[in-house]
């Protein structure tokens, strides 16, 4: 397995990030949209956790809500504790102090996420100027080191370049340099490789893994791409329509997916541990619903091959999976009235 589990002692340490009962609702002109509902999530030091789910499942909204980066139209309930400090409802100055220093982000689009009119060196240096009170010169000097750290050749020249002068992969490395400048405890990577081609992807994932190994950074990787999860994550969380429907160790989820949604996503996907390139999620018939309010039902019921009357009348809680086999290092939980149990994951034909 390339995704080596972090040392046992680290997993038992108190979580760096602890999310409890997180819900996000947007006020829009056409009514409210419930994007995230009752999400519980924790990140141990040095752990890499993946969040997967189809488009519109609430992955990005979950990620943004952690450091309060959502627009004013979003209402966030629940609790987000970063090293014990509550961030939901925290003062702007508290949030600012945490952002970039304790919790940092890498976004999907490396072109539009960098400011086109500032040199990349300046953009990396900025973080250090704010959080470490370095002078502009010192910060630029550090920026050179950071760009070199994330694998940008001739970094001393590159700091003077503008984003449009760099390739997509290089820009994403700049984003990473910016994110890790202050050695954050938690790194949130929202589709860090989606816009990049496969060979570049592998390089970016190597950089992330290397950061975890060297600095013990905890990383939350959000992706559509099960190949990325298989490659880098220790644990996976599967989201559907704003809720967590299943979570388990990577190997475990790939072997014995319990939720029919997870099983659907996983059919025809790679085996963990192999650098298998890009693997988009398997198409499941139907669409992720946009919900005005969260119903007391399984929101996947109308797309689920195993749905019964019970599924549309009560929401299944997230509970330990009914499995005979050993669960391994990480708990395996599922929110389903009819989990798949000991059946192995379906093949494409079986699911189709």
């Amino acid at each position: 397995m390339t995704a080596t589990a972090p040392p046992e002692s680290l997993v038992d340490a108190p979580p760096v990030l602890d999310v409890r009962d997180l819900s996000v609702t947007f006020r829009t002109e056409t009514g409210s949209v419930s994007a995230v509902d009752g999400v519980n999530l924790s990140l141990a030091p040095g752990e890499i956790v993946g969040i997967v789910g189809e488009s519109g499942c609430g992955k990005s909204v979950t990620a943004m809500s952690l450091a309060g980066l959502l627009p004013r139209s979003a209402r966030i309930d629940g609790s987000v504790r970063l090293q014990g400090q509550e961030l939901v409802g925290a003062r702007p100055s508290t949030l600012r102090a945490a952002r970039g220093r304790d919790i940092a982000y890498i976004f999907q689009e490396p072109m539009s996420s960098l400011n086109p009119v500032l040199t990349v060196g300046r953009q990396v240096a900025e973080v250090l100027q704010v959080h470490e009170r370095l002078s502009r010169r010192e910060a630029l000097e550090r920026a050179v080191e950071l760009l070199a750290l994330v694998g940008i050749p001739s970094a001393r020249e590159r700091v003077k370049h503008y984003p449009h002068q760099l390739s997509g992969g290089m820009r994403q490395r700049v984003m990473i340099a910016m994110a890790v400048a202050c050695s954050p405890k938690v790194l949130i990577a929202d589709e860090p490789t989606t816009a990049l081609d496969v060979t570049v992807q592998a390089g970016i994932l190597d950089v992330l893994r290397d950061l975890r190994d060297r600095f013990g950074t905890s990383i939350l990787v959000i992706t559509h791409d099960l190949g990325v999860i298989a490659d880098i994550a220790d644990r996976v969380v599967v989201m559907y329509a704003g809720r967590i429907v299943e979570r388990a160790g990577v190997q475990r989820l790939f072997d014995r997916p319990q939720h029919h949604y997870a099983a659907g996503l996983l059919s025809a996907s790679p085996t963990p541990g192999r650098h298998a390139g890009t693997h988009r999620l398997q198409e499941i018939p139907g669409l992720v619903p946009v919900l005005e309010a969260q119903p007391d039902a399984c929101t996947f019921a109308d797309r689920c091959p195993a749905a019964t009357a019970r599924c549309s009348s009560a929401a299944p809680p997230l509970e330990p999976a009914p499995l005979a086999a050993d669960v391994g290092d990480h708990p395996h939980e599922v929110a389903c009235w009819h989990p798949r149990g000991d059946r192995p994951r379906p093949t494409v034909e079986e699911h189709a």
Partner: protein, 318 residues
């Protein structure tokens, strides 16, 4: 960048020559005979012929044009038919007044417009935005001359806060000079500042919802840095274009404003010359106006490449 500048300079020169031809012909197409205007009571054919000969009006158009062009290149713009003074010296006294008025108006408009635009965007949906929007609407819809007259009535005549008319050169007294120019400059700048405000507001709103502003926020930057360094700098690219396009309007606005405030500037020179069919002066005035348009466009282009690094590169490539 060099090649780009050279090409621009060449284009500018061509535009200038064209403008000169158009002006030359345009002035001669005006109804009315300057000789008649000059002759006064003595309208005998001999007197008129003498006048025409003196000012070269009896020559063919191409000859007149050639003479005008070669003289202009030597800095000799001819002699005013109306005052008998060299046109170039008339310009030398009038131009600084207008230049100062315009620059002051632009400065005021940019400061007010950009400031209000940023506030309106950042405080979207709150009272500050409504106030800024209402002021912008007023600035756009109320004509200069009316605003100027009202200002004179209340701020000069009634309260005596500002002089109602006249001008003091900077060389005599800086304070006096500003005192005379502030009010006209504010009036002249209102329209422009309203345009700038609206443009700044809308491009700031765009900028504030971009991914890179979110990145800036995710870095933990202060709002001042997020708004100023990240959002505003990108918005200014659009604002600069708009300002550039609006400066032409500013020149014509200056003509009216100078008239209202009795400033001895370019506008006054122009109007007097047109009424008197003072060919040499009209020609010179239009020539200077055309040149200033060209210079302004050039300056706007330069400013672009300073603000937006991407323009610098395309300039290089071409």
């Amino acid at each position: 960048m060099r090649g780009y500048l050279l090409r621009r300079a060449w284009q500018s020169l061509l535009t200038l020559v064209l403008a000169t031809v158009v002006v030359f012909l345009g002035v001669r197409a005006l109804p009315g005979d300057p000789a008649l205007a000059l002759a006064g009571e003595d309208r005998t054919p001999e007197a008129l012929a003498a006048i025409r000969r003196e000012y070269g009006l009896d020559q063919s158009l191409p000859v007149q044009f050639w003479r005008f062009l070669t003289n202009a290149l030597q800095g000799d713009l001819g002699t005013s038919i109306r005052t008998g003074q060299p046109v170039s010296s008339m310009l030398r006294t009038a131009l600084p007044v207008t230049l100062e008025l315009s620059l002051l108006a632009i400065a005021i408009a940019v400061v007010l417009g950009v400031g209000a635009g940023v506030v309106a965007a950042v405080r979207r949906g709150r009272p500050a935005e409504w106030v800024a929007n209402a002021l912008a609407l007023l600035g756009l819809s109320v004509p200069h001359f009316w605003l100027g007259l009202v200002a004179i009535l209340y701020l000069s005549v009634a309260t005596g806060l500002f002089p109602a008319s006249g001008f003091v050169p900077v060389s005599e007294s800086v304070a006096q000079n500003l005192h005379h120019l502030v009010l006209p400059a504010v009036i002249l700048g209102t329209g422009l500042s309203a345009v700038i405000m609206r443009q700044t507001r809308s491009s700031m709103l765009d900028a504030l919802s971009t991914d890179f502003v979110r990145t800036a926020e995710a870095k933990g930057l202060r709002p001042r840095a997020v708004i100023g360094r990240h959002a505003l700098r990108n918005s200014l690219i659009v604002v600069v274009t708009i300002v550039g396009l609006q400066l032409g309007g500013l020149i014509s606005g200056a003509v009216v404003t100078e008239q209202i405030f009795g400033l001895p500037g370019f506008g006054k020179l122009t109007i007097d010359a047109v009424f008197q069919r003072d060919y040499p002066v009209i020609q010179a005035v239009v020539l200077v106006t055309a040149s200033s348009y060209i210079v302004i466009n050039f300056a706007v282009d330069l400013l672009y490449s300073i603000i937006d690094p991407r323009v610098r590169v395309t300039g290089d490539a071409s």
